[in-house]
Chain length 108, copies 2
DNA sequence: CTTGATAAGTAGATTCGCTACATGTTGCCT
DNA sequence: AGGCAACATGTAGCGAATCTACTTATCAAG
């Protein structure tokens, strides 16, 4: 999967992963890997800046903790984040319809 | 629809539009608009550079003509472009599965 | 005591879609 | 005659997000 295919689609995916339970960065990486069937293996240089960006934008809130001598920054969805996630899901449906309308994958 | 959602997905869409008939730039724009149900209204600053990029990459070949006093540059798919389109369609299916596996849109 | 997994981060490059601008033709409307 | 919408193609430069490569640190297993 090409790198910039992800562009603009990563944010809702991250938000979706912390929708029902707060997770720290590393755990978010693992959750994305698992939910995508091993396809979505984000480099840390992608994920951590993305998390900071989403927090700065008000969609996530973070809190530090220490577990087994390791520091964790745990992120949870804010209410703005919930709204963003909902609209992100909606936009995904639109986007999918656009691409498939143009590609017409049935007519290969 | 956000701008960079398109990133990496525009190329196969352009190739798809000229798959069965060669078209000039303006007609490609119209075809994308029509096939997407009016959603995909590309600015010329996006389309024309993309076409040149795809030609430089060997996926499209172009030819000038004049119709009704207007100059047209008509693009057609090369055999490399056909292969690229086929793999682009396949990648789209993978990408869609990844996003939907993470988003789980049924569980809103 | 070295390696791999856990954990978080930054700096800098690259890429590509965007805005804004530039140029010219045809045909319709007033 | 004048003007505007549609047709047709293009460039310059910006911005944002993902990537590669690097840094730091702890813990467990061998």
């Amino acid at each position: 999967m090409k790198a910039d295919a992800l562009r603009g689609h990563l944010d809702p995916m991250i938000l979706a992963v912390v929708e029902h339970e707060p997770l720290h960065g590393y755990a978010i990486m693992e959750a994305l890997l698992e939910r995508s069937g091993g396809e979505l293996d984000l480099p840390t240089g992608t994920l951590y800046p993305a998390l900071r960006r989403l927090e700065r934008a008000g969609y996530l809130a973070s809190e530090w903790s220490t577990v087994g001598g390791r520091k964790r920054r745990t992120y949870q969805l804010t209410s703005a984040g919930q709204k963003m996630l909902a609209s992100g899901k909606q936009e995904w449906l639109t986007f999918r319809a656009v691409v498939e309308g143009v590609l017409r994958p049935g007519q290969a």
